[in-house]
């Protein structure tokens, strides 16, 4: 199967040496995309986060220990394993920009896509979304509220791209030629450390394109060949080794 190519390919580069795991991206994502809060968030299998920050360890004992944090949104695969298994075409990768879509109303909740996703980036909505105390008044108008029984995932805040394109059209500019920063995801915008860089991977002038071609950039489980549009950057070899489960005697590429 060929990787789908687009004129614009929205992508992300996350510098794992800059992320300190503060969680601002996770909270911003929930507020932006109308994810419901939950009283007991300790069951990480059944709790929804479109972006999750994992803690990595170099596995060495004190005082040689090192820690890193890995924010994990949907990786927006070039040929996504989730798409081919969906019986109702609720998920697809066809639109310009290369964002893997998720049409919630079409989803029948079979969860094949979750089984296929090697990144655990898809979440089944196990519970009725509930906003106690009037919290629903702070819902944004941009993203529909999803019911129980469907699969959700990060969309790179797709609605923000639509808004940026609309703005460009109104201003008489080419919506397919947005300047860097005109469209960014909510997590990118919130990160106080600047660990997340977002832009067009096909545009050499965009910082993300430069970072993606850096020798310090790797992709998560790259050897699976999903050709993801999220790149992880680190100058620490032990971090890069963990991104693709390198064996001890294997040399990290790059």
């Amino acid at each position: 199967m060929q990787t789908k190519e687009f004129t614009i390919k929205w992508g992300m580069a996350i510098d794992l040496d800059k992320c300190t795991g503060c969680g601002a991206c996770m909270v911003a994502c929930q507020a932006e995309n109308n994810l419901a809060p939950i009283a007991d968030a300790s069951n990480k299998i059944k709790v929804m986060n479109w972006i999750t920050v994992y803690e990595l360890s170099n596995g060495k004992p004190y005082p040689e220990h090192d820690v890193a944090y890995l924010p994990r949104p949907c990786q927006q695969c070039g040929h996504p394993p989730c798409v081919s298994v969906c019986p109702v075409i609720a998920t697809d990768k066809n639109e310009e920009g290369g964002i893997v879509s998720q049409v919630t109303p079409r989803c029948i909740g079979c969860r094949y896509c979750m089984a296929a996703c090697p990144y655990h980036a898809r979440y089944f909505n196990w519970r009725d979304p509930v906003w106690p105390g009037g919290l629903e008044k702070a819902l944004t108008p941009d993203v529909s509220v999803r019911p129980r029984g469907v699969v959700e995932k990060c969309t790179f805040c797709h609605h923000r791209w639509m808004a940026a394109k609309d703005k460009a059209i109104v201003e008489g500019r080419d919506p397919m030629d947005l300047a860097e920063g005109e469209y960014v995801t909510s997590c990118t915008e919130a990160c106080p450390n600047g660990a997340i860089t977002f832009g067009d991977l096909n545009n050499e002038e965009h910082e993300v394109a430069k970072l993606a071609s850096s020798k310090h950039a790797h992709r998560l489980l790259e050897r699976l060949g999903a050709h993801t549009q999220v790149y992880y950057v680190s100058r620490r070899e032990w971090v890069l080794r963990q991104l693709d489960n390198y064996l001890e005697d294997e040399k990290v590429k790059g």
């Binding site: 809060p37 944004t140 915008e189 450390n193 100058r235």
Partner: protein, 690 residues
Amino acid sequence: MAVDRRGFLKFVAGATTGVLATPVPWKLLDDASIWTQNWSWIPRNVDGANSYVSTISKLCPSAAGMKVRLVGERPVRVLPDDNHPLSMGGITALAVAEVQLMYSPSRVKRPLKHAGDGAYVAISWEEAEKMLKENLRRAGSKVAYVSGDETGTINELLSGMAKESGSEDFYVMPSEVQPAALAFASMNGKGQLGYDIENSDYVFAIGANILESWGTVLRNRAAFKKSHPAAKKPTVKFVYAGPVQNNTAAGADEWLPAKSGAEAIVAMGIANLLIKSGATINAPDFAEFKALAAQYTPQKVAALAGVAPAKLKAIAAELSKAQRPVVLTGSEFGQGTGVATVLAGTAVNMLLGSFGREGGVKALPLAPKVIASGMDRSESAQKDLVAYLSRISAGKVSKPRAMVFYEANPVYGLPQPAAMAKVMDKVPFKVAFTSFLDETAKACDLILPTPLGLERFDDVETPYGIGQAFYSLARPVAPCVIDGKPAADVLLSVATQLNMDLGFATFEEILQAKAEAAGADWDSLMEGEFFTSDAVAEQSNLRIAADVIGKALAAAPKAAKLSIAPVQKLSLGTPNTAIPPYNNKTIRRWELQKNEMYVAMNGATARELGVVKHDRIKLSNSSGSIQARVNIFEGVMPNTIAVLMGFGHTAFDEFSKGKGENVMELLTVGYEAGTGQSVWNVAGVNVSKA
């Protein structure tokens, strides 16, 4: 015509193929999936015109500058403000949830009176003000005020009311502010210590959790962001010394393990090495300081603070070579540190030539007070709430007849909270001005709901940590969603009825006067602009206060065999906010499971204690005890147990209440020799299997 078995199977197969070849079943499935999701109780999106209002957070201790997105008149999102000096394009995990906190289930929605049977009774504002006025009148000079706001001019109003009634008892909840102010005052300093991290080329944070809880965290992070370009070598080295590989250590270029509470010792070790390499300070007590610092050899620092001598020497050498180094000292959990810690850190900055230099430490001017009878920040920093409550407990001072709590939650947030709460229990009348039904509010006779920072006018003056003088207004971006009244308005009204002369009739007048005193333009502030100034406070006769450091270190308690290291994360809120509804998803798997919290220790410590991951243990000392499960994390010093703060609330809502236990139960209050300041950043603990 007879249908045989083969014919029947052919027909079924053909029919199946035919049906599947048509769009009918697919369309039906699609429709079914859509209609089965069409549930009436799921909220619908409400659209409207977008607008953005710039303001500043009164909820986040880092005073985050932010833009609030409104849809119609509804605030829906807090977004970073690229142009704000305290935000610079980022947001904290706490401030980003601020809009949602307006609708928190634990908000107090109307004035409440605590009935005799323990229930709350809703009362009118008239009745509430009358009750407040009568009780304050009855209390006379036996009244104490406690504020949870570090930067607002409301503190002048509260302290002014205390003084007008004849009381000196105004206190701000303990933080990094008090020890820093006392330290600078003992150096004969004028103004407030400020740290120019943005222009520094080497940042050494001793204890100070600068990327999470120390000072203006967002501004600190912006400096980190700028100096750490993605995929490139950092242009500024960040070093963090502390007992746990916390968020600051995770971002720092180097983590220097150092015991909790040993910050002053580390700083003195560095000072000793700098002096040996020829550094000097033009201060009257330098000789005394030099003799004191000489005692803190790398070997002694290793013994007292657990710092490897070679690493200490390497950092001292790097600091010497740097052009604009800055050293920041504080507590890794934002409170409980001593005056000597700040003094030792300031001395190191002086040895490095960083005092008064760009990229170093500055003395920032503070706006003069506008309420004549109120206390200014240096006066209020002298007031030690923990010591006050301890003195009441010991019978050394009489208890007040009334206590007024303004957005402060001492029943949860002070060290040894149970003992502190017991003291407060003895006070006949207590009133809480609060946005949330917190632990302190639940212990009060009268609960008065205050609008949040997004619903009221308020101000922020030069938060501790920032490198330049600052003034900004918090503006109401939306109508108050509860039946709340700004505390300042209520207090001014009561003050007038009690014949107090505070010099102002409204809080807006006070804010206007403060803005003018700070040198800011009121109209610009009202439009969301902010005031900054590079002016510095002139100093004379500045000393190191070596005698104060010497006394404090000589009498410092020896570290226990096993000690606890509290870890603070902004995502888990503050004692005033608890865990915001959206934020408990940021709690990691081995930090909390259901309602059981985990504490972290390294493998060697666990082996010594005979415990393994997931074991249930009891941590106890003379102050109290907590139960938790064990997590093994090698980023903790030996004989140290890292405990996350923010758990163990007995109030608030389902997102916070009953989750884990409060580490403050284990923090034992001591008093710093020489200054008498209460400290609680060293706590020994015993561990047993639960």
